[in-house]
Symmetry: C2
Subunit: 246 residues, 2 copies
DNA sequence: CGGGATCTTGAGCAGGTTCAAATGCTGTGG
DNA sequence: CCACAGCATTTGAACCTGCTCAAGATCCCG
């Protein structure tokens, strides 16, 4: 085997610090639409209903009656769907500030399953509270539409990836997408911790765990990234972007 | 090569007859929610704005400002997304009664591109009309959420297929899904015409055109279906179902 | 009736999977 | 605080599904 360039040491990642509720998706959107004088009753409800899920714990299952939607304050969550013979397709990884469970609003049943990837604090918004306010406050309806619509966009991107991209393009796309989302939340876009396993990444990207490893290794050999287990540093975003190809 | 069982002759398909506007998705949902006494002004607008697209004509492009949503009265349409280097992933085939373009409601830009697969008549609902009524009529908001949410469900099913199923499972899933949708619209669930090419099917299912052909042939040899070009008859739905695997 | 598009089939190839095994973390209980 | 069990990651080697390339058959439209 070729001698591999020693991996540059990766710096310490930011700690997942407790964040103020300003980072919570629901709050942010309320505020954006309504200005600083937004009616704060919903917000109070949200802030009061904190809840913590430990790694591996289930937020909800497919088909369960909709009880609440969740805004992530800190941590990360995967959601996934299942074939009836038990195969799993992870449909999304969700990080701080993102909102889960809204898809269930129409059928009153969750359409996917959600599980914490690490210790995760969420704001639990009971559905009756949300509905009461959405009836009164147009901005909340707006924001619900926005979240649903973002989900459709994300899904389209994933379908494109699953249907038309090869292994390298998939991983590059994945890393850049994570990077962009971290940046949006004011974390470092070039250096972060993955909270999901190689196996989860492979499942999400439609490739085997082993292939994920090999591509990680190759990217590192090529000087595109530095990795050490779940710590990743992007060294050449431009080249990654040209590999990812839209 | 093994001598192939002669394909049972496929019966004539139903003609795509002009349908009354009762089959149109918007109408149906209005009526469902509001009962027969629904305010008919929106409906009148819809009925007046008929439009015909010929095979290959474009309804809208990605990024174009949202002008209208479309309810298909007769015919079929494909929608798709693109990589920035020009690769295409078809994200859905739409038939009579289904509604397109609603995803654009939030950003006011279409998120995908839509093209007629055959001569297709649609009801064009200008977006300002739709928005005016959705502000007034709660049932229209309901129904918009329902359509978006159905789109998310469909996308999840496709992601599962693209990420976790093999060629046989993909084609079986595809045929059964079409069958179900035709049935819902009161067409024969066991006998129909495909309006899309093998190449489009392959693109949608994430496989090569040639592979689609080969699986069609094998399914026919196994007595699961009868095909002749774009005419398909499902002969053994049970076995197809067990192949499709959820 | 001609020509382009669509569909079908064959043969060889390749990217990615599967199976197997070694190594390295992590966190848990004593 | 350490040992150990169990899980995650990495790497290798063989294999296989589905792709690519190529050519022929068939259809459809003007």
């Amino acid at each position: 085997m070729m001698p591999r360039r020693p991996a540059p040491r990766v710096a310490e990642p930011e700690v997942c610090s407790p964040v103020t509720c300003k980072d919570c998706g629901i709050y942010g959107l309320c505020r954006e639409v309504n200005g600083p004088d937004v009616d704060l009753r919903l917000l109070e409800t949200i802030v009061r209903n904190r809840k913590v899920f430990k790694r591996g714990e289930l937020l909800y299952r497919i088909g369960e009656p909709l009880r609440a939607v969740y805004a992530i304050r800190c941590g990360s969550i995967k959601s996934y769907v299942l074939t009836n013979d038990g195969r799993v397709q992870i449909t999304g990884f969700h990080i701080t500030g993102e909102v889960l469970g809204l898809g269930a609003i129409v059928t009153n049943q969750y359409m996917s399953e959600a599980r914490a990837l690490e210790t995760t604090m969420v704001c639990e918004v009971p559905i009756d509270v949300l509905e009461a306010y959405s009836a009164e406050v147009p901005s909340i309806r707006q924001q619900m539409l926005k979240i649903l619509s973002q989900e459709i966009l994300d899904n389209q991107e994933l379908m494109l990836l699953l249907g038309k991209k090869n292994a390298d393009e998939r991983l590059a796309t994945f890393l850049l997408s994570l990077s962009r989302r971290f940046q949006k939340r004011s974390y470092s876009p070039s250096q972060f911790n993955l909270s999901m396993s190689r196996s989860d990444i492979g499942n999400y990207l439609g490739m085997a765990e082993e292939t994920v490893c090999r591509v990680f290794t190759r990217f590192q050999d090529d000087g595109l990234i530095a990795t050490e287990r779940r710590r990743v540093q992007l060294l050449d975003q431009d080249r990654l972007t040209s590999i990812a190809r839209g």
